[in-house]
């Protein structure tokens, strides 16, 4: 009997291709939309998490000024100097290294190419604090730092824009580029780091010894930022408090006067980014839920529109001797077949969409089994419910009433 029902169900699907297609389409769109949305949402989350990881866990950024920016009126707080760096390094417990930073905007020139970028002067400690491997070459030698030699480590964006001739990946090593007229030897190439958490291309940089930058580019001994690496065994707020105390003393800030510098903990950035990501996931999930509802309404419409036709059909089947259950089973099989078909096509379509969109959004490609299963189940359930319940009502009618149904 079940076999017969399957024959009838497949015949019915084949005969009403348009109706079957539209029903399936509703499910396809619902499933594909939900999976695409959620997958891209999760991919974005993952990308942000990767950026958080690339920041390094325990880094304190010490900058002059109050909070973000330089604050309102009043005199500009002084930058730091080499003594501040030494003081922190010598007097604060629980830090791994302190890297000073001074930066300057430059035009980099190599043969016919030029590129506007920023030079970041620091010490080799910079690479101890921030995990940023080199793809080729080496970091600064102590004597190069001490002497302020014109050597540089080039970020990937700069490399791509200056060394346009191709050749082996390490071809730029040993070449000389000009930065605002200063000839500089390329000794290292940085790996790709991508977009920063706040936008901006982290790879668009050239790293040089800080002394070189101070002497030949900025023309002063100011240090704009200090990067402090915190030992894993120590608590970063404690270290932060100690540094604050030390700097207040050195900068002669007494009593309840406000700090004229700020210390930014990357853990705070992580927390902010994580909160943003959570919000993003929430938004994406609601959009996905809405598309599922829209898809569901589409399915419902098609099912209800065909009720008139189907009610008469049920009347005919009942009159010629079908038992109500046989008719219902047939309709259920039809609904299941169409819903599952739509679900499978929807999943496939979603993968294609993610494959196309993920690179455009610069997020990794992902397959999220959970959402595929959930979307499939919900869409299939909607299809079955709206396929089944009108049929159940019709099968409950007197055959004669069903035949006369308008």
């Amino acid at each position: 009997m079940l076999f017969t029902t399957f024959i009838l169900a497949f015949r019915s699907i084949r005969r009403h291709l348009m109706r079957s297609f539209l029903t399936t389409l509703g499910i396809i769109i619902g499933v594909a939309a939900v999976i695409t949305m959620v997958t891209l949402g999760e991919a974005t989350t993952l990308a942000v998490q990767q950026q958080i990881a690339s920041l390094g866990n325990n880094i304190l950024l010490v900058r002059p000024g109050q909070g973000f920016g330089r604050g309102g009126g009043g005199p500009q707080p002084a930058d730091f100097d080499a003594q501040d760096v030494a003081a922190i390094r010598d007097q604060i417990a629980g830090i791994t290294a302190v890297a000073p930073q001074a930066s300057s905007a430059v035009t980099a020139v190599y043969e016919g190419s030029n590129w506007t970028t920023s030079v970041n002067g620091t010490t080799a400690d910079f690479f101890l604090i921030q995990p940023w491997p080199l793809v080729a070459g080496r970091s600064f030698e102590p004597d190069e730092e001490l002497a302020g030699k014109a050597v540089c480590i080039v970020g990937n964006t700069v490399r791509k824009n200056l060394f346009t001739k191709g050749g082996p990946p390490d071809a730029p090593l040993g070449q000389r580029i000009r930065l605002n007229g200063i000839s500089c030897l390329v000794i290292g190439l940085l790996s790709t780091r991508g977009q920063a958490g706040f936008g901006g291309d982290q790879d668009d940089t050239v790293i040089m010894p800080i002394k070189t930058v101070q002497r030949r580019l900025t023309g002063n001994l100011d240090i704009r930022v200090m990067l402090v690496g915190v030992d894993q065994a120590y608590d970063s707020p404690t270290v932060q408090t100690a540094i604050t105390g030390l700097l207040r003393q050195r900068r002669q800030i007494t009593g309840d006067k406000q700090d004229d510098f700020n210390i930014f903990d990357t853990a705070q950035i992580s927390a902010t980014l994580t909160a943003t990501t959570t919000l993003l996931t929430g938004i994406v999930t609601s959009v996905a839920a809405i598309s599922l509802v829209v898809g569901g309404i589409g399915i419902m419409n098609i099912m209800l529109v065909s009720v008139t036709e189907r009610t008469r059909e049920i009347g005919i089947r009942l009159a010629i001797g079908a038992v109500a259950n046989e008719v219902l089973t047939q309709f259920l099989v039809e609904a299941i077949v169409l819903s599952c078909l739509g679900g499978v096509i929807g999943i496939a379509l979603a993968q294609v969409m993610v494959l196309i969109i993920a690179p455009l959004m610069q997020v990794p490609w992902l397959f999220v089994p959970r959402i595929n299963v959930i979307a499939f189940l919900i869409a299939a359930a909607i299809g079955m419910v709206f396929g089944y319940f009108p049929a159940r009502r019709a099968a409950g009618l007197n055959p004669i009433d069903a035949l006369r149904y308008e």
Partner: protein
Amino acid sequence: MAPLIQLSQVTKTFGTGDAQFQALRGVDLEIASGDFVAIMGPSGSGKSTMMNILGCLDVPSSGQYLFKGRNVGTLDRDQRALLRRRYLGFVFQGYNLLARTSALENVELPLIYRGDGREVRQTLSLAALSKVGLADWAGHTPAELSGGQQQRVAIARALVTNPELLLADEPTGNLDSERSVEIMQLLTELNQTSGITVLMVTHEPDMARFAGRIIHFKDGLVDHVDSNQPVPA
């Protein structure tokens, strides 16, 4: 031999309270196997209700309906469906074929529910279509057939299970007189050559005269019965 159909004091009431309406008010009727009976009567006389009860589509409110000695009133929906499947064939005024479905597949439908295999279905359906003169139209869908042809497909579907009773509800209601006569001749032939009992509701005296007996309904009761010299097939 017991009559095929035996009704005693059958009533049918619709609605409740003030809206209550008694469509049948105690009908006694016997139809023997092999009869060709026409039921006539004005609108609202209860003839359609009668037909639904006789076709086991509906049950009496009171009284007794025996079909082949079985009390239909005590059967549930599914049991009545099985009874229809086994013994009854229906022809409706509006043909009621499945759309977008070939004549052959329409005729096959009752056999599918009966559980016949593919080859048996094909053979019996083609035979039934031949009987109504549509063997060459087996692959056509209802939309490709004329009204008369559609009704003949419906008749083929009704007789493919070789039923004992063929119920026809205004079978010629949608057809012109020439097509109507053809349908009536077909029913008469089935009645006379295959021995199928035919029960037909009609309001056209011209069609009723094909039947051996004409039962006139009025106000939910049998008003009078005419015996007829049936028109030879």
